[in-house]
């Protein structure tokens, strides 16, 4: 029997014979999820670096490092998905100018370089200090990373800050462009009514910002617990406000998109309605909209209006952030898988069954999601991103803190 990347999809109604093998698997839901987290985390870092919002200082460098760690793994789900990953560079060597996908190599490459540069400038004082103090392999590593630049004088720092500002400014359109383009990949296709929407890039962007902010909230709270440090409530509140505001935009855009789809009522809408009220009821209305979006919105609104503070605020914000992370994951799933479960015939529905193991299975997808977080764990040890880190002379030492 022929080995498939996914199980043969069961179907009802009429679907084209070639549709029973779902082309884009769970890995392609992970891909926009990762790029979204990158864009969102970078937004938070920019709020401090570019817009000078001091309340985000405690997480600004951490956000940047998170963004880099996630971005390094963005090509992973795509490479795992490709039939011929060894030919991946064909899209870069001979890009087809009319293809949205052809942009990926350039956009991702540019953005990774930008992130690495910005991280280099941000963590340079730490690297210089470590390169001078440490011996052994770690000292060697820091010395290589310093690239011969050991000047940490005030003049040099001023120069670095200029670079950081410039890179952060360029990074905003780069990060959002990279993610908006992912929305375009889906929204520009006229073959699927579920995807074909001008609002798709905007929805992807706003959901990216909320997912990245939510991830930072969770990681910040968890890291503070691990480091046994006090959570900066002003910072956390700032993150919660960001989450709250962008969550509203996201919900409005998603609502508008769905409303236009139903209102236009083009060919195939009967099947789409049958789908959203049937198989998609739980993942779309309950998980994505209800539990994932409305509950956090209500909780955050309540806490902000009531002036909740202390432990209740931390718990409320963290729970909301976890729910938003779930909502955005479900949104990616509902777009990518949902679009493919509605047949192009407009006369039938398919059911995608992901494989557990294998190159495009659930385990692979979960690993791709977990890998950047594991890498981040290593990176925060090498480059302590916490606000107190630059004042290394103060006790406790940042390295000990990271532990």
């Amino acid at each position: 029997m022929i080995e498939h990347v996914a199980e043969i999809a069961a179907f009802s109604g009429y679907v084209y014979p070639n549709e029973t093998v779902v082309p884009w698997t769970v890995l392609i839901t992970v891909y926009p999820y990762l790029t979204g987290l990158v864009a969102g985390a970078f937004t938070v870092s920019s709020l401090y670096q570019v817009f000078g919002m001091q309340r985000f200082k405690p997480v600004a460098h951490f956000a940047l490092l998170t963004s880099l760690c996630l971005m390094l793994f963005v090509p992973m789900p795509l490479l795992l998905h490709l039939g011929h990953p060894e030919r991946a560079f064909n899209a870069v060597i001979t890009p087809h100018t009319t293809s949205a996908f052809a942009v990926f190599g350039y956009a991702a490459g540019f953005y990774i370089v930008l992130l690495m540069l910005e991280c280099w400038f941000v963590f340079r004082p730490h690297m210089v200090q470590q390169a001078q103090q440490r011996s052994g392999p770690l000292g060697w590593l820091y010395r290589v990373l310093c690239m011969g630049s050991y000047d940490v004088s005030e003049t040099a720092m001023r120069y670095d800050r200029k670079w950081i500002f410039a890179l952060a400014v360029i990074g905003i359109p780069a990060a959002h462009g990279l993610h908006g383009y992912v929305g375009f990949v889906f929204g520009s296709l006229k073959s699927r009514e579920w995807w074909s929407s001008d609002l798709m890039p905007a929805i992807f962007l706003f959901s990216a910002v909320i997912s990245g902010t939510a991830l930072l909230i969770v990681l910040y709270v968890v890291s503070c617990r691990l480091r046994r440090t006090v959570i900066d409530l002003e910072c956390l509140k700032g993150l919660a406000y960001t989450l709250w505001g962008f969550l509203m935009f996201t919900l409005v855009l998603e609502g508008l998109e769905f409303a236009s789809l139903v209102y236009r009522g083009r060919e195939g809408i009967d099947v789409i309605m049958q789908y959203v009220t049937g198989p998609l009821l739980v993942p779309f209305f309950i998980l994505q909209f209800g539990i994932g979006s409305l509950i956090p919105l209500v909780v955050l609104t309540f806490m902000i209006s009531q002036g909740t503070t202390g432990r209740a605020l931390i718990v409320g914000i963290t729970v909301s952030a976890v729910l938003v992370l779930l909502a955005v994951l479900m949104m990616r799933w509902n777009v990518v898988i949902g679009g493919q479960e509605i047949s192009k015939t407009g006369k039938g529905l398919l059911t995608y069954h992901p494989l557990i193991f294998g190159r495009e299975g659930l385990v692979a997808a979960a690993s791709v999601l977990a890998a950047p977080l594991a890498f981040l764990l290593l990176m925060v040890r090498l480059f302590p991103p916490w606000a107190e880190a630059p004042a290394a002379s103060a006790s406790p030492s940042p390295h000990a803190g990271a532990r």
Binding site: Y16, P17, G83, P85, N90, S99, G346
Partner: protein
């Protein structure tokens, strides 16, 4: 009486001799003429992938403008075309990968919408007993059928192919003669083209790990042969030819009929022209 018999025998012998000579001459001419044909037939039995000269070196793609017609009023749903195509083009021998397929539309009495299925429907596969041979089952035997017809489907080789538009590497491209090809040695297997095709004509071949689809048997038509499905069709429901030639079957088909294309609203401008399809066919 005997004399007569002998003379008639001589005459018959002379006649036969003449016929023999004529036959020899005709044979010689036929042999000479058939040489070309034999070469073509020999080429036919070779899979395209095994040939070093693909596409045919002496073929000029600027001279042709291929077109395909489907006369749905003639199709009897025998599915010989599907089987011929599978063999000719190394299409995976299962019920989930097809370069061409046939849809059955059945309007039962009192029902507003057509019931649609194809040979890939599990019930039809069960009726055939094999995923390699195809037939439509008799599920409507005891129903009151108001209207029913078959619609063969294949790649439309669109004028503005969305699959080509989205291909990130340019591995899939439109030739000068109008056929959309895939360079299987350059395709990265991202399957964006599979998503972009509104007709479901493309699929991912797990064995080669690249996308595959109907290309109107390009390896055959560039040698002067007909696509395998056209050749296999017993009723002439599939029409193929060069639109640059006003007397070609496809030119005549388009000129003499009021033809339709599938999903014209997409702007893809398909190059498969249909006669005898109904409102629900898309």
């Amino acid at each position: 009486m005997k004399q007569e018999t002998i003379s008639s025998l001589v005459a018959r012998r002379a006649f036969l001799r003449k016929i023999g000579r004529a036959a020899t001459c005709a044979g010689a001419i036929a042999t000479a003429g058939a040489l070309g044909v034999t070469q073509k037939v020999a080429a036919k039995s070779e899979p395209a992938s095994s040939r070093g000269s693909f596409p045919t070196p002496d073929y000029d793609w600027t001279k042709r403008r291929w077109g395909f017609g489907v006369d749905a009023t003639k199709c009897i749903g025998c599915l010989r075309c599907v089987e011929a195509c599978k063999r000719e083009n190394n299409v995976p021998a299962d019920a989930h990968h097809f370069n061409t397929w046939v849809e059955r539309y059945v309007y039962l009495e009192g029902e507003a919408k057509a019931r649609v299925d194809s040979q890939a429907d599990p019930q039809n596969v069960a009726a055939s007993g094999s995923e390699k041979e195809y037939r439509f089952d008799n599920r409507y035997q005891d129903s009151k059928v108001e209207k029913a017809f078959f619609v063969p489907k294949l790649c439309n080789q669109c004028e503005h192919p969305p699959c080509v538009q989205v291909c990130p590497t340019g591995a899939t491209y439109k030739t000068k003669d109008g056929v959309v090809l895939i360079d299987s040695k350059y395709c990265i297997g991202c399957q964006y083209c599979v998503q972009a095709c509104p007709y479901g004509a493309r699929y991912f071949n797990v064995r080669t790990r690249v996308t595959q689809k109907c290309y109107w048997c390009y390896h055959r038509i560039t040698k002067g042969l007909q696509p395998a499905c056209v050749e296999a069709c017993p009723v002439g429901a599939r029409i193929f030819g060069d639109r640059n030639d006003p007397q070609s079957p496809i030119s005549l088909f388009i000129r003499n009929n009021r033809v339709q294309v599938l999903r014209p609203e997409t702007g893809n401008a398909p190059n498969v022209f249909y006669v005898g399809i109904d409102k629900e066919v898309g």
